[in-house]
Structure formats: structure tokens, C-alpha cells
């Protein structure tokens, strides 16, 4: 584990300076008060005017509680079960993860993917918070892996298991804490070739169910062959263990395949029958999926389509449509959703930050 500051430990005030004058200047009295008095509810990676990447803690209303500078672009983040520790993952093909102790606003520390690996931007804590699982690309061997990091020992990497496919992206731990569902996006990439997809014609995404006790693959779910270019990327789970998934179409997006679906606790996969007109608006791309337990709904966002669709989980029909340019970040709030955009909109207000693809909610 090492600090990302090349000079070693840096004090918080140095970090704040590094975040740019805009940060301090932008702290209105109310925000300053929030910094000490209001619990952060959400976290999301961002990009600011000075060209700096970071992650922000946000209140329920979208006020910025605190900003942390990141060495490169972040993607998703995850809180540990206590809600105190936040880990932000580098966007693929990045290799860092930044660990933040939200209780004392200490300087983030980073750990890295091992040699020959990069992260995909997502991870999950074990139910007891002792382990952190991270999706990784073992790129020389073209296989997906889940790295296991010990959260009680400085996030030391203590093992790994196969993700059950190529290009693992998001994952979720199912009720009972013994099994993990992994979205293997199916895309083979290698840093030597930038973002080039090396197996477009043969890609075979899947949802792999893994036994966390020994890393064995218990089952894999694949989409019908004609949909093999639907890269399954993101997941969101309901309390009963139904997992909603969202895809990104790597083929001809005008062919209009279903871009989302669900897997029941019994393992039944059902694609979402999105009306053609709505499907067309998604432009073959869903960037984020989030369940709202209380509202009985699930939201799918499409920054390419400038739209977010709220789906009724019971009837599986479109409940609402939100037109929002470059919308991607989403989190459940009350009976609705808290949304962000790459153009700075956050919960309906324009901010000075470009928000990255995901918003994570702190455990209650």
C-alpha cells in the first residue's frame, strides 16, 4: 500500500490545495457547516475545471461535503458495511483503488492491482467488511479475475478466483453472503492495444454465480446467441436477491436487442421487454442500473441517449422517463432517484463538476 503522493505522506491542507482554489472558494458557509455536521449519504467520482479527478461525498440533497483528489479517473466506489470506509476504483484500464476514511477526512491512500492486471472500476466488500473483492483483468491470459484484498490488513491482496468469464465489470453479493454474481462483459482487451476489443466476433458475456467459500463457479447465465454482443456490465440487487442487470451493445445498435433484464433468486433469467421506441432512445447503451427498494422500481440511465428510464419491478413497464443530457449516475432516494450527469447536473442543479458514471449510497 502506498500513498499516491510521490512525496509520501501529505497533510490534509496540502491535499486541499491540490484540489484547487475553487474548492476552498466554493465552500459556502452552509457547506462548511455540512462538512462537520452533516453525514455524507452519497459518493461519486468527478472531474473538475482544473483537470483534476476526484471523488466527492454528498449529502442527501446533493451538497458537497468533502472532495478528495484522485491520481487518475475513478469509476465506481463502495462503502464498507459500517459506512466509514469508502473505496474508489480506477476506471478501466486503471490500476489504483483509493481508500478513504470518511470519519476523519484523512488523506486517501491507494493500493494497486498486481503486475499484469488492471481494475475494471468496481468492487464489493464481504458482508462482514473484512474482505474487498475487486474485478480485475488478467490481460496476458485473457481471463477475468476477482482479486481478494484484506481490509483488515491494509488491503493486502490475499488471493483471487476466476470471474467465470472475460471482462468482469460489476458484481454483487447475494443474500446469505455466500455467493457472488459477476457481470462478465465478455470484452477481451489488452493495454498494448488501448481500448480495442480483441474478440468482438466471438465475445460471450455471461453472469457467473460463484461460491465465495472456494471460488468455484456454481452456474453461468448466457444471453441467447444472437445477443452475444450485448456486454453485461452493471448490476443492482433487490432485498429478495433478484439481480437487475444492464448491458451495452457492442454490435450494430440499430438491431435493438433488449438491454436489460433480471435474474431471480431461483436463477431464472428474464430479459426486460422495453418498448421499441424507448429501446431506440437508449442508443444501445445503459451506463448505470439502480434498484429503489422502497419505490418498487429500478432505474436505467443512458448518457448516450440522454435519458433515464424508471421501470416498475412488478409490472416491468416503464413508469417514468427523465430526459437529461449525459445522465449516468443514479442512486435511490425516497421514492425516486438522485441523478447526476457528465455535464455537471446533480439532483437537478448545475454544479461545476463533471460527474462520473456512478453514485454510491452509504449504508444506513
Amino acid at each position: 500500500m502506498q500513498l499516491f503522493s510521490p512525496t509520501g505522506l501529505i497533510e490534509r491542507r496540502t491535499l486541499l490545495r491540490a484540489a484547487g482554489g475553487a474548492f476552498l472558494a466554493g465552500l459556502a458557509p452552509r457547506a462548511a457547516e455540512a462538512l462537520t455536521e452533516t453525514d455524507a449519504v452519497f459518493a461519486s467520482a468527478y472531474f473538475d475545471r482544473e483537470g483534476q479527478y476526484g471523488v466527492a461525498l454528498l449529502t442527501e440533497c446533493g451538497e458537497i461535503v468533502h472532495r478528495y483528489v484522485l491520481p487518475e479517473r475513478g469509476h465506481d466506489a463502495v462503502f464498507d458495511p459500517t459506512g466509514r470506509t469508502l473505496v474508489v476504483f480506477a476506471r478501466r484500464p486503471g490500476t489504483f483503488a483509493a481508500v478513504i476514511d470518511t470519519a476523519n477526512a484523512a488523506t486517501p491512500v491507494v493500493f494497486h492491482a498486481p503486475e499484469g492486471r488492471h481494475f475494471y472500476g468496481h468492487g464489493r466488500f464481504s458482508a462482514d467488511g473484512r474482505l474487498l473483492y475487486v474485478t480485475e483483468n488478467d490481460y496476458d491470459n485473457a481471463r477475468g479475475a476477482i482479486g481478494i484484498y484484506d481490509a483488515t490488513d491494509g488491503f493486502r491482496r490475499i488471493g483471487e478466483f476466476s470471474s467465470g468469464g472475460i471482462g468482469p465489470h460489476d458484481m454483487t453479493i447475494l443474500p446469505g453472503a455466500r455467493t457472488m454474481l459477476i457481470a462478465n462483459g465478455g470484452l477481451e482487451t489488452h493495454p498494448d492495444y488501448g481500448r480495442t476489443i480483441l474478440n468482438l466476433a466471438t465475445m460471450k458475456p455471461n453472469l457467473a454465480l460463484v461460491d465465495l467459500r472456494d471460488g468455484s463457479i456454481m452456474a453461468t447465465h448466457e444471453l441467447p446467441h444472437e445477443m452475444h454482443k450485448l456486454s453485461i456490465r452493471h448490476l443492482s440487487m433487490t432485498a429478495d436477491g433478484t439481480v437487475w442487470f444492464a448491458c451495452q451493445d457492442q454490435g450494430d445498435i440499430h438491431e435493438l436487442f433488449p438491454l436489460a433484464g433480471s435474474v431471480s433468486p431461483q436463477g431464472e433469467l428474464a430479459l426486460l421487454d422495453i418498448p421499441e421506441e424507448d429501446l431506440r432512445r437508449l442508443h444501445g447503451y445503459i451506463g448505470s442500473v439502480v434498484v429503489n427498494e422502497r419505490a418498487g422500481s429500478v432505474v436505467f440511465t443512458s448518457p448516450q441517449g440522454n435519458v433515464a428510464y424508471e421501470i416498475d419491478r412488478e409490472s416491468r413497464a416503464v413508469r417514468a422517463r427523465h430526459d437529461l443530457v449525459d445522465v449516468c449516475g443514479a442512486a435511490a432516494r425516497g421514492d425516486g432517484f438522485f441523478l447526476s450527469t457528465g455535464q455537471g447536473m446533480l439532483d437537478g442543479r448545475q454544479t461545476s463538476l463533471a460527474w462520473d458514471n456512478h453514485i454510491v449510497r452509504r449504508p444506513a
Binding site: F47, R49, G51, E72, R73, H75, R91, R92, G121, A142, H190, D192, Y193, G194, R195, T196, L198, L200, A201, T202, R233, Q248, G251, D252, H254, R280, Y285, G287, P303, Q304, N306, V325, D326, V327, C328, G329, T341, G342, Q343, G344, S352, L353, A354, W355, D356, N357
Partner: protein, 360 residues
């Protein structure tokens, strides 16, 4: 990618970009698409179809009459056909994006040498099924296109094609050449179909299922070259000049046929013609015309560098000055990618968001 994101995000945060706010009229914005279809794309696919057909004829002649002369004709026809392909391979929209056509024509990059293994296995086992073009579409894409054909005509053992006893290998090559031609013919026909993709692309509207708005139509026009330069840099140049400084000539596309740099030159020339035929420069506001001049300037620079690089890739990598040219070409491809993907995109008022870029 970082600086790319910085410029864009800065632009979006400053309010330069907003969705559905083209800076030119709808008619003016669609005109470059019509221009480029008629002035570059359709002729390029015609030429591709013709050269693919000639390659098929030449390989068949080789099989019927194995000799040094017919082998050389077949190899030359391969070169012509591959260079014609270089002119259309970046048009990864519509016909070429369907049915795995692009991957069937060019299985590349092939980091693990799958094509080589499969082609060698088919030769070693004397697999008769690969000598019939009708069977190829159902087989691995690695057996169907230019990388397979290049190995058959230029790889280990290919000189024996000039003599008797290589009928299986030659039959395999003829089947691949015929398969390539079949795809080329279909692409040409689809681009010339009056109600086909060309019409769909250039007539956006609420009833158009593919292009609902002028923004989408114009967005496709500028994204194709932007992606093309990224592919040239990431797939064609970067792997042979990796960060560790050890040149890897055998990771170059078409190193066996000595076509690596000619292919790249053909790609750049095609992209320049695409830009010029579109008349996109004329659509830019007066005070933004410098972008078009910058593009011309960079194309000139690339042309100069490429003219010095016309030699087998092994020779390029063995010469310090030529390696510098290659590195310069990488910088130029980055620059051109930005000019199309950022500058012109922003000038035209197209929305390119931080979140929607570079899918994840």
C-alpha cells in the same frame, strides 16, 4: 485519454456544448454526409469490390497454373485488394458493421495468433472444407479474411504454391479470396442501394429509425475519422513500438506481405479524401476554419512521414530516423483524432458528454 477528457469536460462545464444545438442549419449540416457518400464512400466500395474480384481471379489462375509468374500475380492482387480495403475499413457504420463483416474481412488484432494456428491447422490436416468458399462463413472469422489469405500467399511454405503439390493450400486461398469478394460485393451493393444505408444516414428525422436527428447524422460523420485515428494509433502503431522500447515487427499488420506501412498510408490517404470530399471545412464558421487548416496541415505532415516509411516494417524498426517518423505518426494520429473528435465536434455544437464518452 486523460487530456481528451479534460478538454471535453472543460468545454462542457463551461457550457460550450449542449445537446441539440447545432451551430449550422440542418440542411448545411447534412450536406457533407451526402457529399462524402457520393464523392468518396460509394467509389471506394466500388474499387474494393473490383480489386477483391481481381484477387479472386488471380488466385484461381495460380491454382489452375502454378508458376512463379502466377504466384507473383496473385500476391500483387492481394496487395491491391488489401490496400483498397484500407480505404474502406474505417467506415465502420451500416453495412460494414453488420454480420461481423469487418471481423470476417480482417481478424485483427490477433494478439494470441489464433488466425495463424487455425490456418496452419487447416493446412496440416488437409481440411477439405476450407477449399469451398460456401463453407467459410460458418467457420471461424480467423479463417475468412485478409490475415488468413496473407499467410496462405506469403507465409511459411507459400513459395511452394508456384509448383505442383500445393493444391489444397491454393484451394484454401482461392476460397478465402472468393469469400472476401462476396463480402465486398454485398457491401458495394448495400452502399449503392437507393433505399439503403446511404439514404438512411443522409435523411435524419423522426421517422428515420436509425438517425432521428441531424445531430446523430453529423455525429456519425465526425466520429468515423476520430475512431479511425484511434485505431491506427492503438492497433497499428502502438503495438509495434511498445512503451518498453523493444520493437515488435511481427505484431505489425501484414508484415509478411511487407504491406504494413503501405496499408497505413492508404488509410491516411482515404481519411484525407473522406474529409475533403465531405466539404466539412465549408460548413465551419469563418472564425473556426483554422480547424480545417489544421487538419490539412496534419495530413500533410503524415503524408511526408509516411512517404519516408515505405519499406518493410523490419527495416523501419531497424532505423532510428524511421522509428522517429513512426513515433511522429502516432502523435499526428492523436492530433487528428482530437481535431475531429473534439474540436470540430464542439464547433458544430454536437453534444459529447463526459459520461457518454468511451463507454464503460
Amino acid at each position: 485519454m486523460r487530456s481528451f477528457a479534460i478538454i471535453l469536460a472543460a468545454a462542457t462545464l463551461l457550457g460550450v456544448n449542449s445537446a441539440h444545438a447545432l451551430t449550422v442549419s440542418d440542411e448545411a449540416a447534412v450536406e457533407p454526409v451526402r457529399n462524402v457518400v457520393a464523392g468518396f464512400i460509394q467509389p471506394a466500395f466500388e474499387r474494393f469490390d473490383e480489386s477483391a474480384e481481381l484477387a479472386g481471379v488471380a488466385v484461381n489462375s495460380l491454382c489452375e497454373e502454378p508458376a512463379k509468374r502466377t504466384l507473383e500475380s496473385a500476391r500483387q492482387a492481394f496487395r491491391d485488394s488489401a490496400l483498397a480495403f484500407a480505404r474502406i475499413e474505417f467506415l465502420r457504420t451500416g453495412p460494414l458493421a453488420r454480420d461481423n463483416r469487418l471481423e470476417r474481412l480482417l481478424f485483427w488484432p490477433d494478439r494470441r495468433g489464433i488466425a495463424l494456428r487455425q490456418v496452419q491447422a487447416a493446412i496440416a490436416t488437409g481440411d477439405e472444407s476450407v477449399t469451398d468458399a460456401a463453407n467459410l462463413p460458418a467457420k471461424s472469422v480467423a479463417l475468412q479474411g485478409y490475415t488468413a489469405l496473407e499467410y496462405l500467399l506469403f507465409g511459411t511454405g507459400s513459395d511452394k504454391l508456384a509448383g505442383a503439390g500445393s493444391s489444397h493450400r491454393c484451394g484454401f486461398a482461392a476460397a478465402v479470396a472468393e469469400n472476401i469478394h462476396a463480402i465486398a460485393k454485398a457491401l458495394d451493393a448495400e452502399w449503392h442501394d437507393k433505399n439503403g444505408y446511404a439514404a438512411v444516414w443522409s435523411a435524419p428525422g423522426p421517422d428515420n429509425e436509425t438517425f432521428r436527428s441531424v445531430e446523430e447524422t453529423v455525429g456519425e460523420l465526425v466520429s468515423l475519422p476520430s475512431e479511425a485515428f484511434e485505431i491506427i494509433r492503438d492497433q497499428r502503431l502502438k503495438p509495434i513500438l511498445p512503451d518498453d522500447g523493444k520493437p515488435k515487427p511481427k505484431l505489425a499488420l501484414f508484415w509478411r506481405s511487407g504491406l504494413t506501412m503501405a496499408f497505413t498510408q492508404s488509410s491516411f490517404e482515404a481519411l484525407r479524401t473522406y474529409f475533403e470530399a465531405s466539404g466539412l471545412a465549408g460548413v465551419l464558421p469563418e472564425d473556426e476554419r483554422w480547424q480545417a487548416r489544421s487538419i490539412e496541415f496534419e495530413f500533410n505532415n503524415a503524408g511526408d512521414a509516411l512517404s519516408r516509411l515505405q519499406m518493410p516494417i523490419e527495416d523501419v524498426l531497424a532505423n532510428e530516423d524511421r522509428v522517429s517518423d513512426l513515433k511522429y505518426l502516432m502523435i499526428l494520429s492523436q492530433s487528428l483524432q482530437r481535431l475531429f473528435g473534439e474540436q470540430i465536434t464542439a464547433t458544430l455544437g454536437l453534444s459529447v458528454g463526459f459520461s457518454s464518452l468511451d463507454g464503460d
